[in-house]
C-alpha cells in the first residue's frame, strides 16, 4: 500500500506474522476450519476414489491438490466473518499497520494451514503406498504457489460483507465445487473435448493437479512452466483483488 514506507517493511512483516500466528492459534481447530479445510476435501476424495480402478499412487496427487485447494481457501472465509461479528477485525484496521500487511497475515495463516494439511497425504503416500516424489522442486512449487493462490482466493471472498460464515462460504463453494469438474480431478485433461481443455486451462486447480502429478513423475498436459506461470498469475490477481475489495468495504463501512 502507499502508506508502507521502506523503513516500515520490517515492522509490517512482524505485524503480519503476529496476525498469522494469532489466527493459527485461535482458529485452526475451530469446527468450521476442520470441516471445510480437512473433512470436506478428504470426504470428496473418498467418495470419488472408493470403488474406482485406479492405483493409489495416481490418486495421491489428486488428494494433495484437493487438500491444498480446500484447506488453504477456507481459513480466510472462516476467520474474517467471525472477526467481523466480534468486531475484532476492527482492531487490525485501527492498528498502525497497512491493510496489505493485515491481509498478508491472514493469507499466511491460510498458506500454512493448507500446506500443513496437504503434507499428510504426501507422507502417507510415501510411507504406506509407495508414492514417490521424483521432482522435489515441482512439489515445492506446487505447495507454495497453490497454497498462496488459494489462500488469497479465500481472502478475496472473505471481503464479501457479512458476519456469518455462510455469507462467505456459500458463494465460495459456488466457485470451488464446479472447479473440481473442470480441473482434471475426476477425468484426465487429455481425455476432455478441446473446448473443455481450454476451459480447464483457466482453472487454477488444474495447474495444482498437474504440478502434483508432474512432481510424482506422471505425464502432464500443460507442462510445469505453464502451470507455474498461471498459478503465479492467479496468486497475484487474487491478492490484488482481495485488497481492492477490502478497501471498497472500508469505503462502504
Amino acid at each position: 500500500m502507499s502508506n508502507v514506507r521502506p523503513s516500515h517493511y520490517g515492522r509490517e512483516m512482524r505485524v503480519a506474522w503476529a496476525i498469522a500466528a494469532k489466527d493459527m492459534r485461535t482458529y485452526y481447530t475451530k469446527p468450521p476450519s476442520l470441516m471445510f479445510g480437512i473433512l470436506f476435501p478428504f470426504s470428496l476424495f473418498l467418495s470419488f476414489s472408493i470403488g474406482r480402478n485406479m492405483p493409489l499412487t495416481t490418486q495421491i496427487p489428486i488428494l494433495i491438490s484437493q487438500t491444498l485447494f480446500f484447506a488453504s481457501s477456507s481459513i480466510g472465509p472462516v476467520v474474517i466473518p467471525m472477526e467481523r461479528a466480534n468486531q475484532t477485525f476492527d482492531r487490525f484496521l485501527t492498528s498502525p499497520v497497512s491493510l496489505l500487511s493485515i491481509l498478508a497475515g491472514k493469507t499466511l495463516a491460510g498458506i500454512i494451514y493448507g500446506a500443513g494439511v496437504s503434507v499428510i497425504p504426501v507422507l502417507v503416500g510415501i510411507a504406506f503406498f509407495g508414492s514417490q516424489i521424483v521432482n522435489i522442486g515441482a512439489m515445492i512449487a506446487c505447495f507454495a504457489l497453490s497454497s498462496l493462490a488459494f489462500s488469497a482466493l479465500g481472502i478475496m471472498f472473505a471481503s464479501i460483507p457479512g458476519q456469518t460464515l455462510g455469507q462467505v462460504m456459500m458463494p465460495l463453494n459456488f466457485v470451488r465445487i464446479p472447479l473440481l469438474f473442470i480441473s482434471g480431478v475426476f477425468a484426465p485433461i487429455g481425455e476432455l473435448p478441446t473446448w473443455m481443455q481450454a476451459v480447464s486451462m483457466l482453472s487454477p486447480l488444474t495447474h495444482t493437479v498437474e504440478l502434483a502429478r508432474y512432481a510424482s513423475g506422471a505425464e502432464t498436459f500443460f507442462g510445469p512452466v505453464l502451470n507455474i506461470t498461471i498459478l503465479s498469475a492467479y496468486a497475484a490477481v487474487f491478492l490484488f483483488m482481495g485488497i481492492r475489495f477490502h478497501l471498497m468495504n472500508q469505503r462502504k463501512e
Binding site: 502508506n3 494469532k22 466480534n86 476492527d90 485501527t94 472500508q250 462502504k252
Partner: protein
C-alpha cells in the same frame, strides 16, 4: 494546523447511498481535554468515531490526529491513538495476558516492553491475578477493563471511547470513570461518545451535540447550561399528592412545563422566584405540606433535549437503537 489541537475535523462527511449519516462536520479537540460527543441513536456518533479511527473511509472531508491525516498518514495517526469501541472486542479464546501481548505485537512493541506494559496495565486494572484465564469466562465489566487496557498498551496520546460505560454495573462504571479521569490528569486526550448526559456533564471539558449527522452545538457543559436560562426549574415534593396536582401545577404563572419525576414535580420556568411564590400559595391554599423545594439550573440533559428535540433514550431503547444502527450500517 494548530499544534494545540489533538484532533481537527474539517467537513467530515459519510454517505451511505442516499443516507447522509454525517454531514460536513467541523470541530477541534484540544490536547489534554475530555471531549464529549453526544447525540441520540443514529445521529452519527459511531460513524464519526469510525472515520476518525480509520475503520471507515470518509466520503468527503479530512481529519487529523495529533497533526497526522487519518487517510494519507494513517500509520502515524493510528500510532497516536487507542480505541475502545462500543462492544468489548477482545479475543475470547485468548487470556487477558495474551490479548494485551497481541495488541503489543500489533504496535510492534519489543517483547520486554510489551510484557512490562501488559503487567503494569493488568495490575492497574486489578486483573493480574486472573491474567492467564481465558477472557470468555470474564464478566462484561472485566472485558471492558481489558478492552481499555488494550487501548492503552501503546501509551497513546488520544483515547477514543465509544459508550465506555454502557450496560455495565455501577461498580464497573465508577471504576472506569475514575480511571478515565486519572488518565486525563496524566495528559491523555479523551474523545468520549456517550448517551449518558450526566456522565458527559461530569467528565467533559467540551461537548459537541450531534443530531441528524450535523453538529448542533459545541461548548463547555456549563456554558451550554447557561445559554438555556429559560430551562431553569423548581423541584417540589408534597407530603400527599392529589390526582389533579400535575394539571394544577401547570397552570402556575411563568411555568412552561411540569414533569413528574417519581414523588417530585419539576416545574420548568424562566422565573424561579415567581414559581416559588406560587408554590407556597398553592400549598397554603390546599393545606399541603411541602417536604422538598429546590431550585435547579438547566441540566445538560435539558440542553440535549432542547437541541435535539428528542428525550434521552432508556437502556432498552439504546440496545434497540444500536441494533437498528447496525442494520443501517451507521
Amino acid at each position: 494546523m494548530n499544534t494545540e489541537n489533538a484532533i481537527e475535523v474539517s467537513n467530515l462527511t459519510k454517505r451511505y447511498g442516499d443516507i447522509l449519516a454525517v454531514d460536513h462536520i467541523n470541530f477541534e479537540v484540544k490536547k489534554g481535554e475530555v471531549f464529549g460527543f453526544l447525540g441520540p441513536n443514529g445521529a452519527g456518533k459511531t460513524t464519526t468515531i469510525r472515520m476518525l479511527t480509520g475503520i471507515s473511509i470518509p466520503t468527503e472531508g479530512t481529519a487529523t490526529i495529533m497533526g497526522y491525516d487519518i487517510q494519507s498518514e494513517s500509520v502515524e495517526a493510528k500510532e497516536q491513538m487507542g480505541i475502545v469501541p462500543d462492544v468489548s472486542n477482545v479475543y475470547n479464546e485468548l487470556s487477558a495476558w495474551d490479548n494485551l501481548i497481541f495488541t503489543g505485537k500489533l504496535y510492534d512493541m519489543s517483547k520486554t516492553y510489551r510484557e512490562k506494559r501488559a503487567e503494569e496495565l493488568l495490575r492497574m486494572f486489578g486483573l493480574l491475578e486472573r491474567c492467564k484465564e481465558k477472557v470468555q469466562g470474564f464478566s462484561r465489566g472485566m472485558k471492558r477493563r481489558i478492552c481499555i487496557a488494550m487501548a492503552l498498551m501503546n501509551r497513546s496520546h488520544i483515547l477514543f471511547l465509544d459508550e465506555p460505560t454502557s450496560g455495565l454495573d455501577v461498580q464497573s462504571v465508577l471504576v472506569i470513570r475514575d480511571l478515565i479521569r486519572k488518565l486525563n490528569q496524566q495528559g491523555l486526550t479523551v474523545f468520549l461518545t456517550t448517551h449518558n448526559i450526566e456522565e458527559a456533564s461530569q467528565m467533559c471539558d467540551h461537548v459537541a451535540i450531534i443530531n441528524h449527522g450535523r453538529i448542533a452545538v459545541i461548548d463547555t457543559p456549563e456554558r451550554l447550561k447557561r445559554t438555556m436560562e429559560n430551562l431553569q426549574s423548581v423541584e417540589v415534593a408534597f407530603e400527599t399528592v392529589s390526582p389533579n396536582m400535575l394539571k394544577e401545577l401547570k397552570e402556575f404563572r411563568d411555568v412552561s412545563n411540569v414533569v413528574k419525576e417519581g414523588d417530585k414535580f419539576r416545574l420548568i420556568t424562566n422565573d424561579p422566584t415567581s414559581v416559588l411564590t406560587s408554590t407556597w400559595n398553592y400549598a397554603q391554599k390546599n393545606n399541603l405540606k411541602l417536604i422538598t423545594v429546590n431550585t435547579l439550573g438547566p441540566s445538560l440533559e435539558d440542553v440535549f433535549v432542547k437541541l435535539t428535540g428528542i428525550r434521552p433514550a432508556t437502556e432498552g431503547e439504546r440496545t434497540e437503537g444500536k441494533n437498528y444502527k447496525r442494520r443501517l450500517g451507521g
